[in-house]
Each structure stands twice: as C-alpha cells, then as structure tokens.
C-alpha cells in the first residue's frame, strides 16, 4: 500500500510540479500571479481532446498540438493584454485582478465551446501495469514517464540553455539582467511561450490521470499548484519543481491507513495547504526563496 501511494504521489506531484514551474517562471519574471493558469491547463487539456477524440489523432501528436495551442493562446494574450498593462507599469494588484477577469472569460469560453459534460481521452483506462507491489493504469504510466522526461528537460533547459539561464537571471534581478545586455522583451516572449507549453502539458497529464475532465477542472488544480509555487518560494523554478513533488507525495501519503488511519481523500487539497502553512511558519520566504533583503 505504501509504495502504491508513493507511485500515486509521484503521478500527482509531477503534474503539479510541471504546472508550478509555468506559474513560477511568469511570476519571477513578470511579477504576475497568473490566476488564469488553471484555465490555461483546461484549455490545453480540451484542445488535445479535440485532436484526440473527434479528430482521432494518437495521444502523442494530440498532446503536442494541445501544448502548441496553449502556447499560442499564451503569446496572443501577452500581446493583447499583458503588454499594454506592462506599458502602463501596472503593479501586482492590477495584474492579479486582470488575470482573475481573464480566468472568468477563458473558463466560460471553454464552457461555451465544450459544454459542462465531462470528456475523456481515447486511451485504455482499464489496462493495468504491475511493477512489484505497484499497479499503474495506462494513463498513470504515460503521465509518470512523460512527466519525468519533461521535468528532466525543464531542468536541463533552465540550467544549460542560454534562454533558460537568462530567464533565471531576469527572475533574480531584472534591472541587473537588463544592464548586462539581456533583451528583456524577448525573454518575456520566451517565458510566455514556455509557460503556455507547460500549461498544455500539465493539463493533458491532469486530464489523463483524472480519466474524465470538464472545463471547470483547471480551477480545482490551481490551488495545489499555487501551494507548490509558494512552498518552493515564489519565483524559484527549481523550488516549484521540488514543491510540486513534495506536495503530490504528501497529499497521497496522507491517505495512508497505517498513518493514524489516514485522512479522508476528499481533504487532499486541504493537506497541501496545511503543509504549506506549516512550512511558511518556519520559512516565510518558502523553501527555496531568499529572505527579503531591504
């Protein structure tokens, strides 16, 4: 049972981690807490569904096209919404509220397009792989392998590639990075692109794991994702990865029967926040965040 919960935790955690990196990068570079990110994820999941279900493409091309569609959405929104707000030097509050408005609009547009009924990908839900004492369904296995590859790729991208390193430099200290000759505008475009791709990927994985999903499901995913971002220290991409995995494991393991009888599974998101609250009491700046230096 323990190892099964660890495996489930890795599945949940890697989905949260991928999304948390997307939120964290945008926060670090643009100081924007993107409340619409859950709906970006739902957009990606449903776009991939359109290619996979009605159009009958395989899961891999459908996922890639869903990611691409989300990235395009992300870039278009930067052009029509975030860029004008940046030009006005809008602060935290304006950006946050605008993202709330955007979340409303996006979710309702998805509801208009797809209706409120749950959708499911065309994969074999009932095929089970047994590894030792762990049983994984096909969607879970796809998610765990795909997410491991994606997390590895994100890590390499952020630490080795020029664009990834400039992104982290910008998140660290924007004016210093600008003085060092980094083209801030271009990095922002790349950030939205990457954040959109990650939203699409996380959305598809979340849709796979949940087996069925509707346009509202993005918002339910958003809170654990925010918890992971804050746990890792807002703006720290590696922290977000670690925070996501820690929370995923903690959420699943909290239901373990041998642990004081386990928590009722409906309270898994509450567990995520209890851990966050406890961690913030000890380190108000998050696990990987730096203490504020005035």
């Amino acid at each position: 049972m323990f190892w099964q919960l660890v495996a489930n935790g890795l599945v949940t955690g890697s989905v949260i981690a991928i999304a948390a990196v997307g939120v964290s990068l945008v926060y670090g570079i643009l100081r924007l807490v993107n409340f619409a990110y859950g709906d970006f994820m739902a957009f990606g999941a449903l776009a991939a569904y359109a290619f996979n279900g009605p159009l009958g493409l395989g899961m891999i091309p459908a996922t890639l096209l869903g990611m691409l569609a989300t990235a395009v959405l992300s870039l278009v929104l930067d052009l029509v919404l975030w860029r004008p707000l940046r030009a006005r030097r809008a602060g935290f509050m304006s950006l946050f509220l605008a993202s709330i408005g955007l979340a409303l609009v996006l979710r309702q547009v998805l509801l208009l397009a797809y209706g409120p009924q749950p959708q499911a990908y065309n994969v074999n839900q009932y095929k089970v792989y047994v590894i030792g004492s762990v049983r994984l369904s096909e969607p879970q296995l796809i998610t765990i392998l795909g997410a491991a590859a994606a997390i590895g790729a994100i890590g390499v991208f952020l630490s080795r590639s020029t664009v990834g390193r400039t992104m982290r430099a910008l998140a660290d200290d924007r004016s210093l990075a600008a003085i060092a000759g980094i083209d801030v505008g271009r990095v922002i475009t790349y950030t939205w692109l990457l954040s959109g791709l990650l939203a699409g990927l996380a959305g598809v994985f979340a849709g796979l794991v949940q087996s069925s999903f509707d346009p509202n499901f993005g918002f339910q995913l958003l809170l654990p994702v925010f918890a992971a971002v804050v746990l890792g220290g807002i703006g720290s991409a590696y922290g977000a990865l670690a925070g996501g995995l820690v929370l995923g494991l903690a959420m699943e393991l909290s239901t373990w029967q041998s642990l004081f009888g386990g928590v009722n599974p409906v309270y898994k998101p509450v567990v995520a926040f209890a851990i966050l609250a406890a961690a913030l009491m000890v380190r108000p700046q998050g696990l990987f965040g730096r203490a504020r230096v005035v």
Binding site: V33, G91, F96, L104, L111, L112, V266, L280
Partner: protein, 321 residues
C-alpha cells in the same frame, strides 16, 4: 420582456446589491484603507451564514442570538487566519486567503453531520426532515411589512437590507475619520513608517481583518435569510471576485463608493439577463449564463486597463497599482 416591468425583480436586484454592499464594505476597509489583499472574503460570509443556521436548527437558538454569534464566529475566523497569515508577504497572503476560502467550502461540502454537506442547509436537521432556519426571520419580516405598510415581502427585504447597509456604511465612514482610520491609511502607504512611529502594525491589521470578516458574516446572514436555503456551492470564490470588482468599480479608499459600485454591478449582472437580441438569442439559457460571466470578466479586465481608480475614486489618493 415582462420581467423588466416587474417590481419584485428589481427589488430582488436591489436586495442582492445591498448584500454585496455589506460584503464589499469589508474589503474596502481591508484593501482600500489598509492595503490588505484578502481574496477569501466569501469564506467569512459562509461562516456567518452557516454559524447562524447551525445554531438555529441544531441548537434551537433564537435567530437573534444565533445571527450575532455567527457574525462573531466570522470575525474570530478572520483573526485566526490573520495571526499566522499576516506574517507573510502580501502576495503570499493573497494566495493563502483564497486557499482558506476553498478549505472552508471543502469542509462545508464534506462534513455532512455539521453542515448538511453538499445538499445544503435542507439536510441540517434529522433525516427526512427539511430543515428551516428562518422561521423567526419570516415573522419579523412580516411584522416590518405590516408596520411600514409595504406592498410585498421583496420590498420589505429591500428596506431592511439597505437600512442595515446604511448603518454599517455610516459606522465605517465614521471609523475611518478617527485617528484609528488615519493609522490604517498610514499602514497602507508605508508600513515601516507607521511602525517606526510606534504603531503596532500587526494589531491594526488584525483588527481590520476581524471587522471586515464580521461584515462578511453579516452579509452571509442576510444572504441566508433572502434565499431561505443555501449550500456550499453558494460560496464559490467567484463571489469574492464580485466583491473585489464592486470595490474597484466604485473606487478605492472611499466608503460611499461601495454602494455605488454594488448598484452598478447589480444592474450590470441583472441587465446581462436581457441580452436576448440576435445573435445571442440563438444561445440556450445555460450558454447565455456563460456569456454573462464573460461580460463580467471583460469588465474587470477593462477596469484594470482603463479606469484603475473606479467611478468615484480619487486618482491622487489611491490607484490600483
């Protein structure tokens, strides 16, 4: 279009605007005057409403004792949340308050024995008995209606809710004029400066959080009385965002901007029901509900882009940053 001419429909719009006024007044005090980013306002509304209903149905308390206790519980919850959460940076605080409101909703949905669960207050009492928490309130409303010689229950509710809202508005308006209110503005402008003058910033913030939460609790009680029944689904985060929109629509840092924002919002929200000209009339009722929320979302974005100081806001005092 006959609904447009119906007095009870517009009385209903007015009642909802009054309830939102009280809810948003708490946010105005917290954000407009003190700069606190509370995004969990709906949780305190839920605590007020559930506190009142549970005490009436399960403990057989009088409504006139249960309602103040529900409001007190909402205020106390604000304090309890603030004690740990106010140590955080403001952006972290915003996220933690949203999370708190979702946790309250989760608990209300899943603790059937306490709240009736997802079935709502109807399941508060014994199995097979539809629970009612508003018997005393309905009698009170009928008495008021007789006294004032009003034509209908809806108009009576309108009068009661707005009377309460105006009393609360006056109280807050007076409070922010005192030295206490000036300290709040000082905290909003520069926390460190206020602290360096010997003001206990955390204590002021806790007071404001508790008062704002109690106001939400009052709004929750009126909500419960207006609708006779409620369930955890009535307390979605969307409601918090409506309240934020009202505060920003009206103008930040102005007490009397809140009712203006609430009335404009009420008419906007109700008005979108009448978007039934082509091509919108080809949509089904459910689809038109989506369009309404799209309009609300676009108004929020538009406000942020075009008029960050709201309708009555003073640009030089407080602008959304």
């Amino acid at each position: 279009m006959s609904v447009l001419a119906s007095g009870s429909f517009w009385a209903f719009v007015g009642v909802v605007a009054g309830i939102y006024t009280i809810l948003a007044l708490g946010l105005q005090l917290q954000f407009g005057f003190t700069g606190l980013l509370n995004f969990g306002q709906v949780a305190f509304m839920a605590i007020g409403a559930y506190g009142m209903a549970i005490l009436v149905v399960k403990e057989h308390w009088s409504t006139w004792l249960a309602a103040p206790l529900g409001v007190l519980a909402a205020g106390a919850a604000g304090l309890l949340l603030g004690l740990p959460a106010l140590r955080l940076r403001s952006d972290y605080f915003a996220i933690v308050t949203i999370a708190f409101s979702e946790i309250v909703r989760y608990v209300a949905t899943n603790e059937d024995s306490l709240t009736g669960g997802s079935q709502g207050t109807i399941a508060l009492g014994n199995v097979g008995v539809a629970a009612q928490y508003n018997g005393e309130w309905v009698r009170f409303q009928a008495t008021v209606q007789r006294w004032l010689g009003l034509s209908s229950k809806d108009v009576t509710m309108l009068v009661i809710v707005w009377a309460a809202a105006i009393v609360l508005l006056v109280l807050v308006w007076l409070a922010v004029r005192t030295p206490w209110g000036r300290v709040l503005r000082a905290i909003r402008e520069d926390e460190d400066a206020a602290a360096s003058l010997g003001k206990n910033v955390l204590a002021y913030k806790l007071q404001v959080l508790a008062i704002g939460s109690a106001l939400a609790g009052i709004a929750g009680c009126f909500y419960a009385w207006q609708f006779y029944y409620f369930s955890p689904d009535d307390f979605q985060p969307l409601l918090t965002f409506f309240a934020w929109m009202i505060v920003i629509l009206g103008g930040l840092g102005r007490v009397w901007a809140v009712p203006v924002g609430a009335v404009v919002f009420g008419f906007l929200f109700a008005g979108t029901r009448f978007l039934d000209f082509p091509p919108l009339s080809y949509l089904s009722g459910a689809d038109r509900a989506y369009v309404r929320l799209i309009v609300i979302g676009l108004v929020i974005i538009g406000l942020v882009l075009v008029r960050p100081q709201g309708i009555l806001g003073k640009r030089d005092e407080m602008v959304l940053e």
